[in-house]
């Protein structure tokens, strides 16, 4: 059982264990349910899905247009969607505009195409600062934006989940879609990074 970890003696682990046992006993939980949920987000659903969406948009201009007009519908064409990605909006980076996504109130994130969010995305520091000083925050990720570029910070404060469509790196004209997808990082789809160079 993936969560049956006997060596963690911390108070929070102990407390969780006690609650888990009680909730199973009372009919609110099963170990199979936990395993199914955990396995989905540890093995099947993660940034590789979003990367395929981005790579497809880079090679197929009509798909890119549909993706920007109706993110949810276009992702469905590729078979992606579902829990915490029910209503998607895709925002496009251009030479003039860089987009960044945050949830200042909690940690809303497009699970269906990026999986569960990393700790930095959930951190009070990121949530507090990126709306006020995005360039300073991006520098901490090693990203230096060109001077004069406008920055748009999308606060996912309601029911819509956002994905950034990053700019296709130069020198990738010859690459196949599957190879392009390997350049697309999680950070580039949130806006705290840009795709890797080939």
């Amino acid at each position: 059982m993936s969560h049956d970890h006997p060596d963690d003696h911390s108070e929070v682990a102990l407390r969780t264990r006690a609650i888990e046992s009680l909730l199973i006993e009372k009919g609110y939980l099963t170990t199979a349910a936990i395993d199914r949920l955990v396995s989905a987000y540890e093995n099947d659903i993660g940034p590789m899905l979003g990367a395929r969406v981005v790579a497809h948009a880079w090679v197929d201009g009509a798909f890119r247009q549909r993706l920007l007009a109706d993110g949810t519908g276009a992702m469905r064409e590729l078979g992606y969607g579902g829990f915490s990605g029910e209503n998607m909006v895709v925002v496009e980076n251009t030479p003039q505009v860089h987009n960044v996504v945050v949830c200042t109130l909690c940690s809303c994130y497009p699970w269906s195409v990026l999986g569960l969010p990393p700790t930095w995305y959930k951190s009070p520091e990121y949530r507090a600062r990126v709306v006020r000083e995005p360039r300073a925050v991006l520098q901490e990720f090693g990203l230096e934006l060109a001077a004069g570029k406008d920055v748009r910070v999308w606060d996912s404060s309601a029911e819509i989940r956002y994905l950034v469509l990053p700019e296709r790196p130069v020198g990738t004209d010859q690459l196949a879609e599957a190879d392009l997808a390997t350049l697309v990082t999680r950070e580039s789809m949130i806006g705290t990074g840009v795709p890797k160079r080939p």
Partner: protein, 238 residues
């Protein structure tokens, strides 16, 4: 100028460096996996809804909120609603913890043996089927409503002052501030009403663009902040 804000409403605060972890795993400990799964199951079992889940976290003491990890916050809200529903009590949790503590301490350092108290065995086919449906299909609260949006793209609007408790989704930084409608989304139930179990009255959501300098005078130039705001959070700003 500003109204009260909950401990979770962090936009614009000046905090420290971003904690960036290289090659981060999806979960950092097994108890996190259990809290993740149990929280979603609680929602599927109708103990609380997603808006209440967030509202529960917002009841945390601000110091505790800022110090807690993500899944510690989830555990807090899971317990909060399980106790409210009468499913769990502090006494039961305490007794359960003592039992596990004794079992662990009596078998120091023997891997595998501290699982010696087995978890109860239960099957729940319906719960598993629901999860298998939920993951690929989701649970959208998007609604079709017969009325047109009150505001149009480009129109100037101002964020209203809204009491943060028990729950609202207008960030403090938008309240009393003027922005411009950038996009009109579909209609969704208002979380403020959902947590109060009021009859559903879905409203349009607007992506409202604010100049960051209008929100904080020392914000970086050339920055726009776009918040998604329900219609009743807004008023016309001529």
């Amino acid at each position: 100028m500003s109204t009260m804000r909950g401990p979770h409403d962090l936009g614009g605060l000046k905090l420290g460096p971003i904690p960036i972890e290289k090659n981060e795993p999806v979960f950092h400990a097994d108890w996190e996996r259990v809290v993740f799964g149990a929280t979603i199951c609680a929602i599927l079992k109708g103990v609380n809804n997603v808006d209440e889940f967030r509202s529960g976290i917002e009841q945390m003491d601000p110091k505790r909120y800022l110090a807690a990890t993500y899944y510690e916050k989830w555990l807090f809200t899971l317990e909060y609603y399980m106790k409210r529903a009468g499913v769990l009590s502090d006494a039961e949790i305490g007794a359960g913890m003592d039992t596990w503590r004794i079992a662990m301490e009596s078998r120091p350092g023997k891997p595998g043996t501290t699982g010696a108290i087995p978890l109860p065995v239960r099957e729940d086919r319906e719960l598993l089927d629901t999860i298998n449906w939920l993951i690929p299909n989701g649970a959208s609260s998007r609604r079709e409503i017969g009325t047109a949006p009150l505001y149009r793209v480009g129109e100037k609007v101002r964020g209203r002052f809204v009491e943060p408790a028990p729950h609202t989704r207008i960030p403090n930084y938008c309240q009393g501030r003027t922005g411009s409608v950038r996009r009109i989304h579909d209609a969704y139930p208002l979380p403020d009403e959902v947590v109060r179990h009021e009859p559903e009255a879905p409203q349009y959501i607007y992506a409202v663009a604010f100049s960051a300098r209008d929100l904080w005078p020392d914000a970086e130039a050339g920055t726009e902040v776009l918040a998604d705001l329900w219609e009743s959070y807004l008023e016309p700003a001529a």
